[in-house]
């Protein structure tokens, strides 16, 4: 048995860490969202003005909706790429499995920023892709929509978050006992029916976990829209960033952050419950 003193000693650092770097900032953020700015100073006066602004000015709702659309697209694309990849690795890769797995993981070691600039280089008007298109005479002038568009944001975020979607799905597929899959075929189910009736249902918790990762992380992302989004690809986190920066309206920025946090927490809560129901 450990003594009380020992227990409090080892639990102190994590508690301090959580308190200082998580709870305190959240409390500050929440408090700020109910304060206001007057003559360039933050006034500690409790009011609902920020939330009223968010509800009445359509710009915020519009950007928030766009962010959610982008996050949903990223989730969808990551699933479309990540699920077949995980399925192939788990069921059909054979001896190539280890090396392929490493290849999926390796991009995670490369800095987010580096990958962002790489996309800029690829998609720009004098970038690699446009160069190739013109070299092949598919286009005469550079194609504009590639960079500084929601398309670019979705592309970059999909690239970044596909491994995060892949990993939980792969884990779920690996967790399916192979005799169960064989039993399905043995009982007369074709490979297609076996996938739809056994493999897919049993991998749903992993799929859901992956989708949640992709959606939540994309929703709060501000680097991708900053690097490749342009004006039409601006997301809600960019608004928050500018409110905390140049605009110096911390209270309004905090109010938006609280809204994003609420959306995220609700989503996590719902998927957590679904995952529990679908796990076996």
């Amino acid at each position: 048995m450990y003594s009380r003193a020992y227990k409090s000693l080892v639990s102190l650092p994590p508690l301090l860490w959580v308190g200082l770097f998580l709870l305190l900032p959240y409390a500050l953020m929440l408090a700020h969202s109910f304060w206001m700015v007057s003559d360039g100073f933050i006034v500690h006066q409790w009011n609902l003005q920020n939330y009223r602004t968010l509800a009445t000015n359509p710009v915020y709702a519009e950007v928030l909706l766009r962010s959610m659309r982008i996050a949903a697209s990223v989730t969808f694309c990551s699933l479309i790429l990540g699920y077949p990849l995980a399925y192939y690795l788990s069921f059909h890769a054979g001896a190539r499995r280890e090396i392929l797995y490493q290849l999926v993981i390796v991009p995670l070691w490369v800095s987010y920023l580096v990958r962002g600039y790489a996309w800029k280089t690829i998609l720009g008007s004098d970038g690699v892709l446009n160069g190739l298109l013109q070299y092949l005479h598919l286009t005469n002038a550079p194609v504009g929509f590639l960079l500084y568009s929601p398309f670019a944001v979705i592309l970059m975020l999909t690239h970044i978050y596909t491994p995060f979607v892949f990993l939980p799905i792969y884990a779920a597929l690996e967790h399916i006992p192979r005799p169960v899959v064989e039993a399905s075929q043995d009982l007369g189910a074709s490979p297609r029916k076996t996938f739809l009736r056994v493999i897919l249902p049993l991998s749903l918790p992993g799929l859901l976990a992956g989708a949640t990762f992709a959606f939540v992380l994309s929703l709060g992302d501000f680097l991708a829209p900053l690097l490749v989004g342009g004006a039409s690809g601006t997301m809600i986190a960019n608004i928050v960033q500018s409110l905390f920066g140049a605009a110096y309206d911390w209270p309004l920025g905090a109010a938006i952050s609280v809204c994003i946090l609420l959306i995220t927490v609700t989503l996590l809560f719902l998927t957590e419950r679904l995952e529990k129901r679908w796990s076996f």
Binding site: V180, E182, Q185, D186, L187, S190, R197, V198, P201, F280
Partner: protein, 367 residues
Amino acid sequence: MSPAPAIPPLEEERAAGPLLEVRALAKRFGAHEVLKGISITVAAGEFITLLGESGSGKTTMLRLIAGFEQPSSGEIWMNGERLDTLPPYKRRVNTVFQQYALFPHLNVRDNVAYGLRVTNAPSNEIDARVADALRMVKMESFAGARPATLSGGQQQRVALARALVNRPLLLLLDEPLSALDANLRKEMQSELKSLQREVGITFLFVTHDQDEAMALSDRIALLRSGALEQVASPREIYSHPATAYTAQFIGQTNLLRADIRGGAAICGALRWPTSAPDGAALFSLRPEAIRLADTAADSGASSTANKPAAKARFSATVKQQLYGGASELLEVDCGGQILRVKIPARGPLSGKQDFSFSAEDAVRVSE
């Protein structure tokens, strides 16, 4: 009157000739030869057991028949049709897996209905057939339960019902009882046997347990490192083992390396008549074939003159005695040769005793 079978075998499928025919079936994994050209036929309605140690290839053979592995060479035929070229889901063969392999996301009823649903059985039949199958394995009250909430024995029953509900021509059972404790195992053995009689479906049963094989099977196919050692009924394989390996694997035995000269086999102090030609030979003598020779019947055996030369007598020192309830297992020393003797329980024995056995019980076996 026996009740009508819950799943009657369809008459037109009872074609003449063997149900299953395995021809020179071989399987290699890399350089390792797991099956070395097995040929065997199985009759419809038969309960046949593939018996062998782990690594003998019995599970591989089952997986080849089910379609989970492809043979390296050889053919499998069922009911006059080539089986080994079909994918598993097109074979009218169902399997009871060692770890049951129930679908964890489906309840008992949906597990059993699975095979009917995926093969597009008429939906108005499904409920009745599932209920029948569950009744057959006495699991109807668990229809709504998830597999994870069931005990091993209950999962076993569900796995059986799930495999039988499709009315397969052949049911494969991969050590289905090995995960159960001893008592439940005995109980399931007898249930399995009566179930097979009831449904009339051919059972191909895989086990490493020779007692289980003896108790259940119409025929036993003994596998040894990928080759068939002997295929025979349990009684035949026990009383007339073809090889020393069979004699030792199925039950206990004394292997006697004898020298035959002029119609008599001589092995140390033992001597018995035989019709085998002169030369060296190996004999198997079951422990229970050796009797204590102190009873009146035995001492008078030579005077009955029915088979005057058919008895072999010897005296030996009792080295060890193990009490087994109804019987005693002795280890006796006969001139330096240790023999195992199994006699009906009769109290402690010691010192020199006289024993006898019938010459016909010493069965000649090959190496």
